[in-house]
Amino acid sequence: MAMTLKPGTRLLSAVCSTEMIAVKAPAGEVDLTIGGVTPVASAADRIDGGEVAAGHGGGASMGKRYVDEAETIELLCTKPGEGVPALGGELLQLKEAKALPASD
């Protein structure tokens, strides 16, 4: 199902504990899933007994960023879970970030 995103939009997996926030979002509608299912805006909207779809699991990790190849979209994982995000059916990739020392 298509949805629109803004930087700051919260995205909760409907079928597992994964939670994300949009850091960067393309204009217009996107076909986004987490765990293979369209994400929801709050925990109350989760699907009872829902399951992560085959090929959409493997785990999302806290603090990691997920991007598409063209980096039109960037999601940050705020709560880990089994389901991983996908755009138009393509799994998003982990964005490598260089760790910097804490300066303040």
């Binding site: 700051g8 910097l100 300066s103 303040d104």
Partner: protein, 493 residues
């Protein structure tokens, strides 16, 4: 992105993690979120939130509540004289003014609410407001310290601060056991930045209300502090207090310092007394939304251990510029200078604000002139030589006070130095050095002048060396050069 998103991220990621408060009165991420939402509901209708007071363990709640309510948070220096302090508070018309117990009665133009009372009164049931999404809104207004002129209101928008966080801090990157000890006051950019970056990292924040070296050491031991941030004057006091004894703070993994130039001798002593702690030097300005360059623990270690003078010298550098910030060193006619040549430091990037209440000072291509002079070495390490406004022009030659100060500081018995230019009929400016001797040291002005002449050259040798018991500083350790200049200008030439 907007700072209010960070509140939702905290609730999502750190619901059960203790983020604020002492180990006696902990506040979890979930509790933090509840109080921020409630606080925002009470702020609605005000045009800003001013805080004038000392650090407070729950101050981040007021900062994030302001963000959620969509109004700027304005920390004001409570150490200023009453009329100066009130003049800054009064610039924020229609603000909710929060203060600590000691400062509240000093506020005249507004009725100030004591922060503890405000926190206490936050309703459990309230009409929730939706946070704004517009990241072009102003998140924080900071008054610059005004070491060379009147304080200016620097504006930091949500997009600047979030760019800094997303670019340099890992969300949830801190372990659950980590805690940071903050000693910088809330009206300093580092005070605001660490509230944001430690909340983002999920690191518990512990405040020292006002700095004392012994209490600082004791707090680290009592609270199991893993990270700390100090300004150079604090580092000097810690070294002095230890007097050669090891610091004995086994939990402290990282100690960052910044905000002013540190004496290399103090730094070397500190590295020796805290052998298991990683040192981090951070360089940034209010107008750059905090840190833009970092010298990390590995760089410190390499500089101490290396025989290569190029690597050794980096101990006094500001390290490398953050990946998402661009830098240029420019010469007199705005040309870009090659590595090794000193010029004006220009910065560009998403976190660079360069904006005051009076307007933006970014050029048409988005570059911000820091008015700091410096150079970059062949491997990208940034060396800061000081404010361009402090540059001495003697006989047409540009002379950085820092260069002379470094030579003088390396002489035995010299605790602190300030080199300034005073008006001179023949040379335009003449060089005067004000020196604070170490306790018990007997110094000779002629010997000190000879040391500079031997190391640099005649034109950089101070015409006059005077001795002082102390030099004037801001509370955050910045040397007040204009005060030194004023005082020395009254001396007979």
């Amino acid at each position: 992105m907007h700072l209010s998103s960070l509140v939702e991220m905290v609730e999502s990621g750190f619901g059960d993690r203790v983020l604020l408060g002492s180990s006696a009165v902990p506040v979890t991420g979930a509790e933090f979120g509840r109080r921020v939402r409630s606080g925002a509901a009470t702020i609605s209708g005000h045009r800003a939130v001013v805080y004038v007071g000392e650090n407070h363990p729950l101050l981040p709640i007021a900062l994030f509540a302001s963000a959620w309510a969509g109004v700027p948070f304005v920390p004001v220096n409570y150490r200023l004289e009453d009329h100066h302090m009130n003049a800054l508070v009064d610039r924020q018309q229609g603000a909710l003014v929060l203060a600590d117990v000691a400062t509240a009665p000093r506020v005249t133009g507004h009725s100030a609410i004591v922060l503890d009372d405000w926190l206490e009164s936050l309703p459990v049931e309230f009409e929730a407001i939706d946070p704004p999404f517009d990241d072009d809104g102003i998140a924080i207004v900071l008054y610059t310290s005004g070491t060379t002129s009147e304080p200016k209101s620097a504006l930091l928008r949500h997009r600047h601060l979030m760019a800094y966080l997303l670019g340099s801090v890992e969300f949830g990157g801190a372990g659950e056991d980590e805690a940071v000890l903050v000693s910088v006051p809330p009206y300093h950019v580092a005070g605001m930045a660490n509230m944001l970056s430690n909340t983002f990292a999920g690191r518990r924040i512990v405040y020292l209300r006002s700095f004392d070296a012994q209490i600082w050491l004791e707090t680290i031991r009592a609270e199991g502090i893993t990270n700390a941030m100090v300004v150079p004057t604090m580092l000097a006091r810690i070294v002095e207090d230890l007097d050669g004894r090891p610091a004995n703070v086994p939990t402290l993994r990282s100690l960052s310092y910044g905000g002013a130039k540190v004496s290399e001798r103090v730094l070397r002593a500190a590295l020796k007394l805290l052998p298991d702690t990683g040192f981090v030097n951070a360089y940034g300005l209010t107008e750059t939304a905090s840190t833009i360059a970092v010298l990390g623990p590995d760089d410190h270690r390499a500089a101490i251990e290396s025989d290569d003078p190029v690597v050794r010298r980096r101990l006094s550098s500001a390290g490398q510029v953050l990946p998402m910030v661009e830098i240029e060193i420019r010469g007199e006619s705005d040309e870009i200078l090659p590595p090794g040549e000193t010029g004006m430091i220009y910065l560009r990037g998403e976190q660079i604000s360069g904006e005051y209440a009076s307007g933006s000072v970014l050029d048409e291509h988005g570059w911000f002139c820091t008015r700091d002079r410096g150079f970059i070495d062949a491997d990208g390490y940034l060396f800061i030589e000081g404010r361009s406004d402090d540059t001495i022009i003697r006989g047409g030659e540009n002379i950085a006070p820092a260069e002379i100060e470094e030579v003088l500081l390396a002489q035995p018995g010299v605790a602190e130095v300030c080199v300034v230019g005073l008006p001179d009929d023949e040379w335009g400016q003449r060089i005067v050095a004000a020196i604070v001797p170490s306790s018990g040291a007997r110094l000779d002005a002629e010997q000190l002048r000879a040391a500079v002449r031997a190391e640099l050259r005649g034109s950089k040798t101070p015409e006059l060396v005077v001795f002082r018991d102390a030099l004037p500083h801001t509370e955050t350790g910045k040397l007040l050069r204009r005060v030194v200049v004023q005082e020395l200008a009254d001396l007979p030439s």
